[in-house]
């Protein structure tokens, strides 16, 4: 009995959730993904600069967010979703290269996750590696509004 109610509630919740995401535009979704990536680099940057003490859990969580989001990111660009965003037309003209740039960041994040940066100096190096991936994609595929 109790079980059934819970199961029902979960179904309703799921329905509710998918209804909400279905209404979300691809623009809003991918900008949210990038915002979270930015937030994660921010958390790593605070450790790199010494504003926050080294914390393995934060490092792992941030790298995981970057890895997860960047892998899903290239699928958020359906035809016709160029407007009202900072996405450059080159994303559609040169999609394979765009995806390769996303994969590069994904791989670099995964490599770092496999042997987690263990102190402030290692986090500094990690931020440098990731930063180069960010700007090499933004250089061609993002145009400030």
């Amino acid at each position: 009995m109790n079980f059934k109610t819970i199961a029902m509630a979960t179904t309703v919740l799921c329905l509710g959730f998918s209804a909400v995401t279905a209404q979300e535009t691809p623009q809003a979704k991918r900008e949210q993904m990038m915002k979270q990536i930015g937030g994660s680099v921010g958390a790593l940057g605070a450790i790199a600069k010494g504003d926050k003490p080294y914390d393995a859990a934060t490092v792992e969580k941030s790298l995981t967010t970057i890895s997860t989001n960047i892998k899903a990111f290239p699928d958020q660009f359906p035809e016709g979703s160029e407007g009202n965003s900072e996405a450059a037309p080159a994303i559609w003209q040169n999609n394979a290269d765009f995806r390769a740039k996303a994969a590069k960041l994904g791989n670099d994040a995964d490599t770092l996750l496999a042997s987690l940066p263990a102190d402030q100096a290692a986090v500094q190096k990690a931020v440098q590696t990731l930063g180069a991936d960010c700007s090499s994609c933004h250089q061609t595929y993002r145009m400030k509004k």
Binding site: G38, Q128, G131, C134, S135, H138, M143, K144, K145
Partner: protein, 303 residues
């Protein structure tokens, strides 16, 4: 685009109407006196390297797609599209035939600060000498000395593909008459040495205004909107306002320096567009120079 180029044409016709002789007197190439390039002594190669990063020469003159140390081979060959046609960037490596290895300092200096080529011809302002004109002869000497230490390349770039009348170098004389000068872009009362250094770097070698200042229909900078940003000529989007009237008013000097060194904004967005290469170049500059640039950007009039 059509209306833009027809306006430019109209401007040139007016100039032609001034009378051929007067027009020639007003618009002929004007190199600097030879004395400006004499007795500058042995170039300081460390400073010369800094000038090359401040000047961003590699962003245009390195081979397409070059990264890392390879950007120091100034072989040319990149295509630079513009409303007037496509420019093919020349080889300025130390090669004596294909590059500038056999040029004199005066030839190099007049190209950099007057837009005058080695045969006395006008150079196109897509080479941003309209900004480099503010460079000191000492820095030009250091830069030339440093370029000569970089690898030679025998690459020869194809000729520019420009439509009439832009394919006529003489026409550049009209543009220079209207827009070329080597005066400060803004008057800053009570500027201290740090701000003055920043002014030199931004208005001179850094040529930041070439992108961050909007242009009029003839391609001249709207200097009353100095560094105010505007639509991106590369198409979609815009170039940000970097005066205290723009978003950067909330950036501290340290934020700005960090952006130039790492490419990260204070809210951990990452640099993109044409600024990505500029940032990679600026990251080579001494911290004090980046602080000076930041101080100048805080001191210019808000737009």
């Amino acid at each position: 685009m059509a209306s833009k180029s027809s306006k430019i044409l109209a401007g040139l016709v007016v100039l032609a109407g001034v009378g051929a002789a007067t027009a020639w007197a007003l618009t002929k190439p004007s190199p600097r006196p030879d004395a400006d390039w004499a007795n500058l002594g042995t170039p300081d190669l460390v400073k010369g390297e800094q000038v090359i990063w401040a000047g961003g020469c590699v962003s245009c003159h390195a081979a397409t797609g070059a990264t890392g140390e390879a950007v120091k081979v100034l072989s040319g060959g990149r295509a630079l599209p513009s409303p007037f046609g496509t420019f093919h960037i020349p080889n300025i490596s130390s090669d004596p035939h294909a590059g500038i290895g056999s040029w004199t300092l005066a030839q190099f200096g007049n190209a950099m600060t007057r837009g005058v080529g080695p045969e006395g011809e006008h150079l196109y302002p897509s080479f941003p000498y309209g900004s480099y004109a503010r460079m000191t002869p000492a820095d030009v000497n250091n830069l030339f000395g440093y370029i000569k230490t970089l690898p030679a390349s025998s690459n020869v770039a194809p000729p520019h593909e420009l439509g009439f009348p832009f394919n006529i170098r003489l026409a550049v004389g009209g543009w220079k008459l209207l827009y070329f000068n080597d005066k400060p872009r803004v008057q800053l009362a009570n500027a201290d040495d740090k701000v003055k250094r920043g002014q030199y770097l931004v208005e001179g070698p850094g040529h930041c205004g070439e992108c961050h200042t909007p242009r009029d229909a003839l391609g001249g900078l709207k200097t009353n909107l100095w560094l105010a940003g505007g639509p991106n000529p590369e198409g979609k989007g815009s170039i940000p306002n970097i005066t205290p009237g723009g978003k950067v008013k909330d950036w501290s000097e340290a934020d700005m320096v960090n952006y130039f060194q790492t490419g990260f904004t204070p809210d951990f967005d990452s640099v993109g567009g044409q600024m990505a290469e500029v940032q990679q170049n600026l990251a080579h500059l001494p911290q004090a120079d980046l602080e000076a640039i930041s101080a100048y950007l805080k001191a210019v009039p808000a737009r």
